[in-house]
């Protein structure tokens, strides 16, 4: 079994493959992320950072290559096994999509419903997570009433709510002012300090500073780190 918690082997993703509008998002990316590591993914816009994170998070199927979660190959896993893998990975999307009309605490902890957590437990957990991201007053507010920055903080809180083994974070500070960004980065650093594995993509040098590994992408390919 591989010692890496997350691993990509010769990973390529092409959108609209075979069509006239085919887009090569990433090509031949290989990386092994050991348990407890902090991988920073850097690169210009459109270089394939989000695609790489989604593939590592088992949220999309690569065109070729392999993704392994704790040594298990995703491509050959059943739907149920993939769902179990996703429960071990907290994914914070850049756009922080949420369920419309649902109170924020419920949104944050919705992933825990099938795990048997009661509504009271989830509400308490949601309140505590919102407090950590500075949104304690937004407990019962629906997500459509949040600003972009607030949504992003809530998205990170949701990724952390399921106590994942790894946190995959896409551009966590892109919509935030410096003070809010610092709060978010402190939370990520805290998760890492407690032994969690982090994969973080960002333009922000401050966000990538705590990384123990760095991967630079350029036009979908691994580029030398400068």
């Amino acid at each position: 079994m591989s010692a890496a918690l997350l691993e990509a082997r010769g990973l390529s993703v092409r959108y609209h493959a075979g069509g006239s509008s085919e887009v090569r998002a990433i090509a031949d990316v290989s990386i092994a992320i050991p348990r407890g590591a902090f991988l920073g993914v850097a690169g210009p816009s459109g270089c394939g950072k989000t695609t790489l994170l989604c593939a590592l998070g088992t949220l999309l199927e690569p065109t070729s290559g392999e993704v392994l979660v704790d040594g298990a190959e995703v491509a050959t896993a059943s739907q149920a096994e993939r769902s179990r893998m996703r429960r071990r990975l907290g994914f914070a999307f850049q756009s922080a999509p949420m369920l419309r009309g649902l109170p924020l605490w419920d949104n944050l902890t919705y992933g825990l419903v099938p795990r048997g957590e009661s509504a009271r437990q989830r509400r308490e957990l949601g309140a505590s997570m919102l407090e950590r991201v500075g949104l304690a007053t937004k407990l019962s507010v629906p997500p459509e009433e949040l600003s972009g920055g607030e949504r992003q903080r809530a998205g990170l809180a949701r990724a952390l709510a399921g106590a994942p083994d790894a946190l995959i974070v896409d551009e966590p500070t892109s919509n935030l002012d410096r003070a809010s960004a610092d709060v978010i980065l402190a939370l990520v650093a805290d998760f890492h300090a407690r032994g969690g594995t982090v994969v973080l993509a960002s333009h922000d040098p401050a966000a990538l500073a705590p990384a123990t590994m760095l991967l630079a992408l350029e036009a979908g390919r691994v580029a030398p780190v400068t």
């Binding site: 989604c54 999309l60 769902s83 369920l99 009309g101 992933g111 419903v113 099938p114």
Partner: protein, 398 residues
């Protein structure tokens, strides 16, 4: 709460969180199910009426046929039938389909000897025709109301009679019956008046025959075996057709699916159309359902948990849709008296029936309505959920 129950609960919440999507789904269900439930209610009511009519009627109904077609029977055939061992009574009857009133409403003229008028009929106004009176009629209460006539009204000729010239009939009574259909369409008169009105002297439509229960089958066989009901008629023999009470009851179709097969067939087609209609009308919600499903997959939900969630949402929408449809069907049948739909089942009424439409909302059609409602919503909901749940989350969320 069990995890599966908590998952199902989120499906119920989803129905409330997406009011437009839910209203569109319920609207489709109601549009298709309401006429279905109302229609089956009316047909049940009619079947009940038919069963009651048979129960109130004679033990044996004897009519005549020649070349396989019904023909009038000479009145003298009553003696032939009376001679059959086991026969205790023979009542001649004339039945004629007539059109009456300014709008030529459909009605049925029944002529019987006055002493054999059905006991289930009672006059609410006036009296029943008496023996020896000429051209006296008693009219069903609902038919009288529809025609705007009362005791003392004179009815212009409604049946061609060349022999006696034009005559006017007089309404001497308005009756009620346990059977609304009788009230709605029956004109009752003495058999002689009926014969005069129809210019058919010496013949009747048929005979109502009484016999003890233990002999009825044998009596029916004997009457059917008579060589002719019109011996010596140069036109040829008239064969007897005998229908027992049991046979008449058996002629009334039973069972939800056996009954009104054409009506049911149309609704099967309607449901086949309702499913894509539901998918189209919930098109706005479809994209959102897909995104939500993708997001929940990304959060670690299993496909079967998503299907349970969709199933709970479908069950709620189906129950609401079917309940509203049943309520509206009742409203259609009681306060609106089957406006527009009664004509599908009853000859005569166009849009607004002028009598109380018989109906019965039996449990089976209502349960069937709930089941069909669930099939329609589950098909619409689960199909889109399943497709999104089996796609990679990012693809579903896009």
């Amino acid at each position: 709460m069990l995890p599966i129950a908590a998952v199902a609960r989120t499906g119920l919440d989803a129905a409330a969180r997406h009011p437009l999507r839910s209203v569109a789904a319920i609207g489709c269900i109601v549009a298709v199910l309401t006429p279905f439930v109302a229609g089956l209610g009316i047909s049940r009511g009619l079947a009940d009426q038919a069963i009651s009519s048979v129960a109130l009627g004679a033990d044996l109904h004897v009519t005549g046929e020649r070349f396989g077609r019904s023909v009038p029977i000479p009145l003298a055939a009553a003696d032939l039938i009376h001679e059959v061992p086991g026969v205790t009574d023979v009542v001649p009857r004339i039945v004629a389909a007539i059109r009456i009133g300014r709008h030529r409403e459909s009605a049925v003229l029944v002529g019987l000897p006055v002493e054999t008028f059905p006991s289930s009929i009672s006059c609410v106004e006036g009296r029943l025709p008496v023996a020896g009176s000429a051209n006296e009629l008693a009219v069903g209460a609902q038919l009288a109301r529809r025609l705007g006539i009362s005791v003392g009204s004179a009815l212009p000729p409604f049946y061609r009679n060349e022999a006696e010239g034009e005559r006017v009939s007089t309404v001497v009574g308005v009756f009620r019956s346990d059977l609304p259909i009788w009230e709605a369409s029956l004109v009752l008169t003495d058999i002689e008046t009926a014969a005069r009105i129809g210019d058919v002297r010496g013949v009747v439509s048929g005979f109502l025959v009484s016999a003890p229960p233990e002999y009825q089958e044998a009596v029916a066989g004997k009457i059917a075996g008579l060589e002719s009901l019109a011996p010596g008629d140069p036109a040829g023999p008239i064969r007897a057709r005998v229908v027992t009470r049991e046979e008449a009851t058996a002629l009334i179709p039973e069972g939800v699916l056996a009954r009104e097969s054409v009506f049911n067939l149309h609704f099967v087609l309607a449901f086949a159309l309702a499913i894509p209609l539901l998918l189209v009308t919930s098109g706005v919600g479809l994209a959102e359902r897909r995104r939500e499903t993708g997001l929940l997959k990304a959060l670690g939900w299993h496909s079967d948990e998503l299907l349970v969630r969709g199933l709970a949402e479908s069950a709620l929408l189906a129950a609401l849709g079917a309940s509203i449809a049943v309520l509206l069907a009742w409203t259609w049948l009681v306060p609106l008296n089957g406006w527009g739909i009664a004509g599908v089942f009853l000859a005569g009424p166009d849009l607004s029936p002028g009598f109380t439409v018989p109906f019965r909302l039996a449990p089976e059609p209502i349960l069937l309505a709930y089941a069909l409602s669930f099939v329609v919503t589950a098909t619409g909901t689960l199909l889109s959920t399943w497709r999104a749940a089996t796609a990679p989350p990012m693809e579903a969320m896009r």
